[in-house]
């Protein structure tokens, strides 16, 4: 190696080392995001990120003993006898141990108890008939009763029988200790840290991302022996073979106008249509796909008519994906018959056009037809999926044009016939049309209603807007609401919120001052007098000042581990409209762990449910 080469090598090495050191300072590292939201930029969960691991609760293993039913409060006063060594032992006999007796026994036939009945004298007064001696025999009217002795109750009070009140601090105040094994279960919280580098975000459920279908293959393989016939027309099906071969022939040969399925078959990959003007006749057969979509039209030159010359011909997508049975990315699809089933049935992108004159379109979870391009419906039967956030028999999205002149719409209540996703232009020609804004999109605009025969009222439910939305004339700068729509005018739709229920609530709270005292040592009773919490303004009052019935709940949360607990006289209460205010009272139990001095010890949350 020459000197020059050596020098160059040293330079390159030095530069590489320098770059390595500098680049290691950059905040890029490895873009590894773990399932719990950790990455190189957020290696540990912090208070800010909100992450809480799930903690499984453990039950308290404390078992109540006789002591849990008794209060030990020594009443012994030292005297001369116990000056040297006090021999007093607290016992029930010495009244130091008191048991809270709380027997709920009601006398019954088993306990043997009966009350005694005192004797009562006969009220009979002897008259003439008793001249020779009283002939009166005691009866119901004379009032005579013999004395009946009482019999005692043989019920014996016991702890097991529930006759003694539990005064155990474990149960009353939840004062679990190190020995009882109690662990409070905690629900986990996802990590809220958003890492811009890694684009990680908290786990908020998102609408399913649909992968783009594979566009690489001209015609994807179907089951190898899937058989179709094709030719110039239904009467001239001169060729036979696979669907792949038929589609390839139709793309390249404009004479091929008709492809007819000869048997039912399944495919696991997308069937791409990249050109040609022809009909796919289902011929009463079923094409089952486990790809997304099953058939993908992706050429502006393609015009594909779907028909069914037989009975019950189907294209079925067995996956949960939204693109469904047929997706039109570019080009045109015309549906005259057959059934199309999937999570969604037909999916139209902005460069796609679909005309539907017949056929059955059934979505299991999604939209029967999702229109992002041009959609004309004058027939067919449409059934929406069951997902309330994705459904709509027909869903139209931004920039799409939907023309509806017919069709039968079967909805999963309360899904509307047409879910208007974003800014949408719907040409409405008649029939009953229900509009539902997709996921509450607001405001909906540019609903152009033209060519319908009669002026009609919105209140006729011929056009049903979502709750809280009203029409206004697009030309009206003040956007005054209109209830009757006129022909050949364009309307905007505005959100008024007027039909949303507005609740009004007043909440009043006191000073919420709590003072804890150890009490004063009473030299006579050898006890602390006045130990515990005293409260000032410890109430929260909720008043319903609106017309909507509400339910109020209260909760107290310590700001730190002060080792005392809060109790409410009630934690929840209905507060109907026009009712009296409801007051909640807060008390604290237990001794604080630390000395407190003029501190904010906790917060009160008032929850209002409708």
């Amino acid at each position: 190696m020459t000197h020059r080469k050596k020098k160059r090598l040293i330079r390159v090495g030095g530069l590489t080392l320098c770059l390595s050191i500098l680049l290691s300072c950059l905040p890029i590292g490895a873009f590894a995001i773990t399932a719990d939201g950790l990455c190189d930029h957020h290696p540990e969960h912090t208070e800010e990120c909100g992450y809480v691991a799930v903690t499984e609760g453990q039950p308290c293993t404390h078992e109540h003993t006789d002591d849990c039913y008794s209060i030990i409060q020594c009443v012994h006063k030292h005297n001369e006898d116990c000056k040297e060594t006090c021999t007093h032992v607290c016992s029930e006999e010495s009244d130091c141990i008191t048991v809270k007796h709380n027997c709920h026994h009601s006398h019954d036939e088993n306990c043997g108890y009966s009350e005694g009945v005192p004797a009562s004298a006969c009220t009979h007064e002897c008259g003439e008939e008793c001249a020779e001696g009283c002939i009166h025999e005691h009866d119901d009217t004379c009032g005579y009763a013999e004395e009946v002795d009482a019999t005692p109750c043989n019920h014996v009070c016991s702890i097991e029988g529930g006759c003694y009140e539990l005064v155990c601090s474990h149960a009353i105040a939840g004062q679990h200790d190190d020995t009882c094994g109690y662990v409070e279960g905690k629900a986990g919280q996802p990590c809220g840290y958003v890492c811009e580098e890694c684009a990680a975000s908290p786990e908020i459920p998102a609408e399913e991302e649909q992968p783009e279908p594979d566009e690489g293959n001209l015609v994807a393989d179907t089951e190898s022996d899937a058989e179709v016939k094709w030719g110039a027309s239904i009467d001239k099906l001169t060729e036979s073979g696979t669907l792949k071969a038929a589609l390839a022939a139709a793309k390249d040969n404009s004479e091929i106008k008709y492809i007819q399925l000869q048997k039912s078959f399944a495919t696991s990959s997308i069937i791409n249509i990249l050109g040609g003007e022809f009909t796919i006749d289902l011929g009463g057969c079923t094409l089952t796909g486990s790809s997304n979509p099953v058939i993908y039209i992706n050429s502006s030159d393609a015009v594909v008519t779907f028909a069914d010359s037989g009975t019950g011909g189907k294209i079925v997508n067995t996956t949960d994906a939204a693109f469904g049975a047929v997706k039109v990315q570019k080009g045109k699809a015309i549906f005259t018959g057959g059934s199309y089933e999937g999570s969604g049935a037909v999916y139209i992108e902005k460069d796609g056009t679909v005309e539907i004159t017949g056929g059955i379109f059934t979505a299991t979870n999604n939209r029967a037809v999702r229109n992002g391009g041009i959609l004309n419906i004058c027939g067919g039967t449409f059934t929406a999926g069951s997902n309330p956030y994705l459904s709509g028999v027909v869903c139209t999205s931004s920039g799409s044009i939907t023309t509806i002149t017919g069709g039968t719409y079967q909805e999963h209540p309360p899904i509307a016939d047409v879910a208007v996703e974003y800014l949408t232009n719907i040409q409405y020609y008649g029939g009953t049309l229900y509009l539902q804004n997709y996921n509450g999109a607001t405001p909906l605009t540019d609903l152009t209603i033209s060519n319908f025969v009669n002026t009609f009222a919105v209140t006729d439910n011929l056009i049903q807007l979502p709750t809280g939305y009203e029409f206004y004339l697009n030309d009206d700068a003040e956007q005054n609401s209109v209830t009757e729509l006129e022909k050949d005018k364009t309307y905007g739709i505005k959100y008024t919120g007027s039909e949303s229920e507005i609740a009004s609530v007043s909440i009043t709270w006191g000073a919420m001052n709590f003072t804890y005292s150890d009490g004063t040592w009473n030299t006579e009773t050898y006890t602390y007098d006045g130990a515990g919490w005293t409260a000032e303004g410890n109430t929260v009052t909720v008043e319903n000042t609106g017309n909507v019935d509400i339910t109020a709940s209260v909760a107290y949360q310590n700001r730190s581990d002060f080792a005392f607990i809060a109790t409410w006289d009630k934690e929840t209460a209905p507060v109907p409209a026009n009712s009296d205010p409801v007051t909640f009272t807060l008390d604290l139990i237990g001794k604080p762990k630390n000395e407190l001095s003029d501190e904010i010890i906790g917060d009160v949350t008032v929850r209002i449910d409708q």
Binding site: Q189, G192, V194, W509, T605, Q610
Partner: protein, 178 residues
Amino acid sequence: MNNQTEKKNKTKWLILLLLLITVIAVGVTVWALFFRSSGPALTPDYAPVETEGNAETIPDDSGDKLESPNGGGSVSISYSTDVSIDLSEKTASLYFANPGKSNQDMVVQVVIQDTILVQSGTLQPGKQVTTLNLLDGAEKQLSPGGYDGKLVILFYDETTGEKAVVNTEIPVTITVNQ
């Protein structure tokens, strides 16, 4: 002689290159330390100095104050439980009012799964909002769909700005649109 000049030139370029790399590295470090967006919003312990920009005066509001217990507080709130979020506009549409009879300023938050997505500025008594802006980056955490969320309403002393020990939560239905 020529070789020496060439060497000097090369050294000069090398130094310049190293300087440039150093400047870039320092720049990235400064950005990472001081300008990178921080984590989720925290609940303010004192009322924000700035009042809510989208706040409007409540029409025909009486303004007669509620009676407030000594040391306590008294508020009135009006609201709708429907909240709509527009991701493209980065706004939330809702109805929330702090009527004039309240004795406290308020801050309203829209929360989904304990993540604060919207936090208003101070809403003084007599003010209402129908639109609030999403917090920075909140739109990245959401996808179109329906969510169960809550309005968290924090109360602040009108004079001292100190947060009250009482706050309110109202369950709401939130729809998120593209």
